[in-house]
């Protein structure tokens, strides 16, 4: 059976070139970067090389502005709580959006319990907030703005540059979760005007369990875990050398192929959107129709439920995801789908298709062939369907 992986926003395979690099640092050059002997120095060199690769990819002026973390979630936690605690004397107000990942929203919720005040900006129907909304929410207690670059569920790209200008004018620290955008669309910390940025390895053909936080020189911030002095006292624990090497290589490769991949996948994306909308009635495109990630397609199909769709597509060899409640284990549909105004029963029928470097036009055609009869069959089974 044909196997088509269409779930690159969930995770990606490690690029063979990345895996090869990592392998060397697992077995051969296995030293602890803190050791001063030859094994340690070899590991240290690799870590600093990777740090340079990450800095270059996102246009950081100083290589020391990159700290490696155990993933996007930890970087989000570090950025938000680290800024909040370090700036408590100045104020307690944080601005974020309803589109953010749980790593940001749950962290903000926790901070609320600890006495911070959080404004969660509502989204328009496409999942965007405007710089004006951000500006209007700022008070003299505001210490942090956190807005994601591109949304994982609906692919919409936020006006980060404009928000960055507002943040700069009002002198407020600005964090951006760029987990989904890095390697797919240009990310330059100076052009975007961000002070902290979150990166995750496993979304860009690097390994899981590694990420990075960019932190602009001079930003008021403090660590949130305690231990050894690694990562310039920003993040303790023996460095995940192989993971760091993998992230460095992965972000370099992703940057190299970004433009050509973006063009190729945008073609697939637009074909998928127009053909699905044409072939299948009662379909809603979620997210912005054009201002979205090149590899990202997402719909809601009325009258049916996401998990059933997923299972049927899985039996046809297609791996895909949904924001349906039944797939989340939480009994509630995705907060993003609700925030863009979809009623619960519609959100249940969500489907997300995210393409990657190994997908071909044939994969797209296979999907377009397989999907309609599945939707039809599920609608026949559905008591909601008009028939």
């Amino acid at each position: 059976m044909r196997k088509v992986y269409f779930d690159h926003s969930a995770t990606t395979p490690v690029d063979p070139a990345v895996a090869e690099e990592m392998m060397k640092y697992l077995t051969e050059h296995f030293g602890n970067p803190s050791s001063i002997h030859a094994f340690g120095r070899e590991a240290r060199k690799a870590v600093e090389h990777a740090r340079q690769q990450v800095a270059t990819a996102i246009g950081a002026s100083h290589v020391g502005e990159i700290a490696f973390t155990s993933g996007g979630t930890e970087a989000d936690n570090m950025a938000i709580r680290g800024v909040a605690y370090a700036n408590r004397h100045k104020g307690n107000h944080i601005i974020t959006t309803a589109a953010e990942h749980h790593a940001v929203l749950s962290t903000c919720k926790q901070l609320e319990k600890e006495g911070f005040a959080v404004t969660v900006l509502p989204l328009d129907q496409y999942g965007q907030v405007t710089a004006q909304q951000v500006a209007d929410a700022i008070t003299d207690k505001t210490i942090l703005i956190s807005v994601m670059h591109a949304n994982n569920e609906i692919g919409t790209i936020m006006p980060i540059k404009e928000i960055g200008q507002v943040a700069k004018e009002r002198k407020i620290i600005f964090h951006c979760d760029a987990v989904q955008s890095v390697g797919k669309i240009p990310v330059n910390v100076d052009e975007l005007g961000v002070d902290l940025l979150t990166i995750s390895g496993h979304k860009i053909y690097g390994p899981k369990g590694i990420g990075a936080m960019y932190i602009r020189k001079g930003t008021f911030w403090q660590p949130i875990t305690y231990g050894g002095g690694q990562e310039r006292r920003r993040r303790p624990g023996t460095e995940n050398v192989a993971g760091i090497v993998g992230l460095g290589k992965a972000i370099e490769l992703a940057t190299e192929r970004m433009q050509s991949e973006a063009e190729r996948l945008t073609r697939y994306r637009d074909r998928l959107i127009s053909e699905v909308m044409a072939k299948i009635p009662h379909t809603i495109l979620t997210g912005h129709p054009t201002n979205r990630l090149p590899n990202h397609v997402s719909f809601c199909f009325r009258f049916i439920e996401g998990e059933s769709m997923l299972l049927m597509l899985d039996m046809k060899g297609i791996a895909i995801s949904s924001g349906s409640a039944c797939t989340s284990g939480s009994l509630e549909p995705s907060h993003v789908l609700t925030a863009i105004g979809l009623p619960q029963e519609v959100a249940h029928g969500s489907l997300r298709l995210t393409m990657g470097k190994d997908n071909t036009e044939e994969d797209v055609e296979y999907f377009l062939e397989v999907l309609p009869p599945i939707i039809e069959r599920l609608r026949e089974m559905s008591p909601l369907s008009e028939g």
Partner: protein, 123 residues
């Protein structure tokens, strides 16, 4: 995640559809999770002669619906009323813990359909 039996009933659901002019109709739904099950019955001499379902929900919801129709088919009303949600889950070799509460409503739908039939009989 799902047992082979669940996947079998999900892949080849038994008795899908809606009976025309049914003797009993039952619909239940769990608003928090969003699954809705509708069962229609044909009853003769207190025996379930035909049963069909329609379901909006996850794999477990489809499988439990299918299973309950198979379990109820040919049974007397009294026997069918004794089918519990737990029995349906067991007949499917179990459900994942997160699914136990939300997708496991098929027996309730069956009960609702039988009660609807009994109410119509009284009227």
């Amino acid at each position: 995640m799902y047992s082979e039996k669940v996947m079998d009933h999900f892949t080849n659901p038994r008795n899908v559809g809606e009976i025309e002019n049914p003797d009993g109709v039952g619909q239940v739904g769990n608003p928090s999770c969003g699954d809705i099950m509708k069962i229609t019955l044909k009853i003769e001499d207190n025996v379930i002669k035909d049963i069909k379902f329609k379901t909006f929900g996850c794999g477990a919801a489809v499988a439990t619906s299918s299973m309950v129709t198979e379990m109820a088919m040919g049974k007397t009303i009294d026997e069918a009323l004794k089918i519990s949600n737990k029995a349906v889950a067991e007949a499917l070799d179990g459900l994942p813990p997160v699914k136990m509460h939300c997708s496991n409503l098929a027996a309730d739908a069956l009960k609702a359909a039988i009660e609807d039939y009994l109410k119509k009989q009284q009227a």
